[in-house]
Symmetry: C2
């Protein structure tokens, strides 16, 4: 049963649909609803939680806007899954100047275990001397190496990462399937930088070539930081796309 409203109580008022949303998000966090799964119908949820169908609808609408759920008329409501086309649309902003966006291929250079730097500790909210996994890779777009990328993860949270046979191209699906971690959002900070000699070697450009630096912290359903990713991109034939509205 749902908590009652706090009407005329003078306390923090929380709409019923927000409480419903919270209880449904908890099912995602706890994994009782898995990515890709069909969830119960509005009518069933309304009966189960003891609220009207309209209230359930509002909660589901909010979660759909948050891209946690996908609704399909006539079929039902599904838990969003880290499927490639969805990830591409939601989390990948680097697109070719001409042509359609495509999912980049990756070549892994290194997987290391180390102690977190001060910057990594701050971004991932880790304690002093926390161990981290670092993955370095080169990503290819439209046949051209275009991105040098370093991913940092908490070695404790991602226990067993180093023992994996390899690192797949779509790591968000890996996080979901192997550790049950859902990437729900990310915040990016962009700067202009210059290619180091190492960058230049990987990207076949001159040292000092201007690169677009993307600093991304991705977070989970509980808004805890999960992954730090620094990408250095050659923007000769591609750009970062951002829509304001």
């Amino acid at each position: 049963m749902m908590a009652q409203t706090a009407r005329s109580a003078g306390f923090a008022y929380r709409p019923l649909y927000a409480q419903v949303r919270e209880s449904l998000v908890r099912r995602l966090i706890e994994g009782s609803w898995q990515p890709g799964q069909l969830i119960p119908s509005e009518v069933d949820l309304a009966r189960e939680l003891g609220v009207s169908q309209g209230t359930i609808r509002k909660a589901l609408d909010v979660m759909t806007a948050e891209k946690l759920l996908i609704r399909r008329q006539g079929r039902g409501t599904f838990v969003a899954a880290p499927e490639e086309s969805r990830i591409l649309f939601q989390f990948f902003r680097l697109v070719p100047d001409q042509g359609e966006p495509t999912f980049p291929e990756s070549r892994v250079l290194r997987v290391d275990r180390d102690v977190a730097t001060a910057a990594e500790r701050a971004d991932l909210e880790l304690s002093e001397a926390a161990p981290v996994i670092r993955i370095e890779r080169v990503r290819t777009l439209a046949g051209r190496p275009a991105i040098v990328e370093t991913i940092t993860l908490s070695a404790e949270r991602f226990a067993g990462f180093e023992a994996l046979p390899g690192v797949p191209n779509n790591v968000y699906r890996l996080y979901s399937e192997r550790w049950g971690i859902t990437i729900a959002g990310a915040s990016e900070k962009l700067k202009a930088g210059a290619a180091t000699p190492a960058d230049a070697g990987e990207l076949s450009c001159a040292p000092g070539t201007p690169l677009l630096e993307i600093h991304r912290v991705a977070h989970d359903l509980e808004d805890r930081p999960v992954e730090l990713r620094v990408s250095r991109c050659l923007t000769a034939t591609l750009h970062y796309s951002s829509d304001l509205r």
Copy 2:
């Protein structure tokens, strides 16, 4: 009275609330509802258009999500206005690495009239040899010159621009007040570039310093391109912020 639904007609089905939204957006386009104005209450609109309050509510909710309206419980619903704090939040993504976002100050270098380049014609959907206004300015953030910016406008659409006594810092308000043009959204493309000698002089940096290049096309309520803006930014102490969710 609203158009009827096209139910079981086999034609494109358009929900009532979408038709309501369209008719209300037309009021914004035609200027019968002005920026900042209080619009009629839900009940009044429902009576006027002959639909239920719930349908009006849905249309207003959509327009609020599009940032065309601002709703305030107890007060009413207002047309969004090009007020500085709102513009800053909605359209300005360059923020200091430390500290709060602030609205940049501007120093105008030049206002020219010229024939549109091929690139400008493509971005602004202008005809061959169309005349344009170009504004060049340097923008200062946190006391430091950080952005060199070129704004291109159709000289026909912005008739009389050159006769203005000066160019204000907040040009979106100028577009609204002088020409009745509302900037409703923008799409940006980012690349990394290098400072030209001219850039370097304005920004007090070395020629060749990596700069963040932002290429923005802003559009109006009818989705027509209105303004092209190319900004070249020193990202030593600031960054472009982008949230994905």
